[in-house]
């Protein structure tokens, strides 16, 4: 219930309005993400990693 209220409030803050029937599904996705996030605890050096982001190599090479 707490998570559903959070989702509703957050989406409202972003100006997005969804059906109330959507909330349990969104909650399910976020719970799955939250659960899978616990796997990161096995890798305490994660915060030292350089994030994997897109680099436009052409732009770099061509100045």
């Amino acid at each position: 219930m707490r998570l559903k209220k959070f989702i509703d409030k957050e989406l409202d803050m972003y100006g997005i309005s969804i059906d109330k029937e959507d909330l349990p599904y969104v909650e399910e996705v976020l719970s799955s993400v939250e659960e899978s996030e616990t796997e990161l605890e096995d890798f305490p050096d994660l915060k030292e990693q350089l994030p994997f982001t897109i680099v436009d190599k052409g732009e770099i090479l061509n100045g």
Partner: protein, 472 residues
């Protein structure tokens, strides 16, 4: 000529070159099949009768006049509907784009055109690439031809169903977290997720920029190689495109795999459905019989793939669709809206943590490829589900089971070739995937074609339920 619709491009091409098969007659034959079967299979959202026949007549004229372009010349191809096609409706499988007609082609469409391919039409897909069930709540599902009560898998659902039912010789797909490999597994065909940057993504409707790849689908590895030869290559319009020398991907076909080291991450052995476990065990044994050295390895970092994949995909998809969601979220199909909503409320720190996990996983893969030539795992841990009444819930279930198996290749940018593994006890196909290091597509063609030669699905495509033309 029997089963012309189920012949490989590598078989048709020499016949077309020798003028034994007419591109016009071949295209007419496919259009006739589409006309008859599409009402049931819903594979094509747009059929291009007029332009396909124009392209076929042009190809035929060129060939008759001695200007044969190569193996795709005169070959009928189906295009996933998230590839922009100039002057042709491009919906991304979603009604929100129902009337969208681009004024440019995706780069890969230009390449296929230049190679002489015939565009039969635009293929059904999971809306906006945001799903793994392959069900389409806007335009209806393109059901699994092996059993039309079952899912096709997604997001490139009809890229696979069209091949399995003889509605194209080749098809294109896109793969963001498994969208080529999951439907390939469920319909018993071959699908490649190439190295990130090998095939241009310019002109695709994006799902998640940093994970999206475009790639070929076919009924054989040799056809995957032929198509990749055309689709791959540097594109200055795509900032992620790799400017490298390309090999001929057909060169490694039919080479033996004696001594090839194949690593099976133990991660891919957890939670398998009994049928998948049995088929995968048999496949490992068969590969050993072919002379490969198959051994289990540990890549603990794979446990982060589910988190990194969900957060990256949902977050990037939410960013792309943000303004349209603000305007009217109700115009999106529910299952897509759910993922976009989840991506909107995820935190920036989660997104960055996901990118850190990607770096660590990429390093772990690189280390693994110092020990083995390729990795192997089932494409999905589950057998192909029946279509459920609650499509939204089912899509989430398929994502939650499938994504951890397929997204590692997207997160790290390495290539993965999905191949049929056999039939489960309910008679539906199941698949497995070979994963290689960056730019090792040639090696994947080698091991894939050796595997294909073992005839993993002995039943011909022409024998399956969805392939029959109703009596006239």
């Amino acid at each position: 000529m029997a089963d012309l619709e189920f012949m490989k491009a590598s078989e048709l091409a020499p016949m077309i070159e020798r003028k034994e098969v007419s591109p016009v007659e071949l295209t007419e034959r496919f259009l006739h099949r589409i006309d008859k079967l599409n009402p049931k299979l819903n594979a094509y959202l747009t059929t291009l009768e007029t332009t396909a026949l124009e392209q076929a007549r042009k190809a035929e004229e060129e060939i008759v006049n001695g200007r044969y372009k190569g193996p795709l010349h005169g070959i009928p191809i189906g295009i996933k509907d998230n590839y922009k096609t100039k002057g042709i409706r491009t919906t991304g499988g979603a009604k929100i784009f129902d009337e969208y007609t681009p004024d440019v082609n995706a780069t890969t469409i230009d390449k296929l055109d230049e190679a002489g391919g015939i565009n039969l039409g635009k293929l059904n897909m999971h809306p906006l690439g945001a799903g793994s069930s392959g069900n389409n709540l806007d335009y209806g599902v393109s059901p699994n031809p092996w059993n039309t009560d079952h899912l096709p898998g997604g997001s490139s659902s009809a890229s696979a169903t069209a091949l399995a039912s003889g509605l194209a010789v080749l098809t294109t797909g896109t793969d963001t977290w498994g969208s080529n490999r999951i439907p390939a597994a469920m319909s018993g065909v071959y699908g490649l997720k190439p190295t990130h940057g090998l095939v241009s993504t310019h002109g695709l409707l994006p799902t998640a920029w940093s994970l999206d790849t475009a790639g070929p689908f076919a009924r054989s590895v040799s056809d995957i190689a032929l198509m990749l030869n055309v689709m791959a290559g540097f594109d200055s319009k795509d900032p992620q495109s790799l400017n490298i020398d390309l090999p001929d991907y057909t060169e490694t076909l039919n080479k033996d795999i004696k001594g090839m080291k194949i690593g099976v991450p133990r991660y891919y052995l957890e939670g398998l459905a009994p049928d998948i476990e049995t088929l995968f065990g048999k496949a490992r044994k068969t590969l050993e019989d072919l002379g490969a050295e198959v051994r289990e390895i540990d890549i603990p970092e794979l446990s982060m793939a589910s988190f990194a994949g969900q957060v990256t995909a949902n977050g990037e998809a939410a960013a792309y669709n943000y303004s349209m969601m603000q305007k009217d979220a109700g115009q999106y199909p529910q299952d897509v809206r759910i993922l976009l909503s989840a991506g909107t409320v995820s935190s920036t720190s989660q997104y960055l943590k996901a990118q850190q996990a990607r770096r660590k996983l990429a390093d772990a893969f690189q280390k693994a490829f110092e020990e083995v030539d390729v990795l192997l795992g089932p494409t999905l841990p589950i057998t192909t589900p029946e279509i459920a009444k609650d499509e939204t819930k089912q899509n989430l279930q398929v994502i939650q089971r499938g994504l951890p198996f397929t997204v590692p290749a997207n997160l790290t940018g390495v290539p993965s070739l999905a191949v049929p593994m056999g039939l489960s006890s309910d008679g539906l196909p199941a698949g497995m995937q070979f994963i290689g290091s960056h730019l090792s597509e040639g090696k994947l063609m080698q091991v894939g074609s050796a595997w294909e030669d073992t005839n993993p699905i002995s039943v011909g495509y022409a024998e399956i339920e969805g392939s029959h033309i109703p009596d006239e």
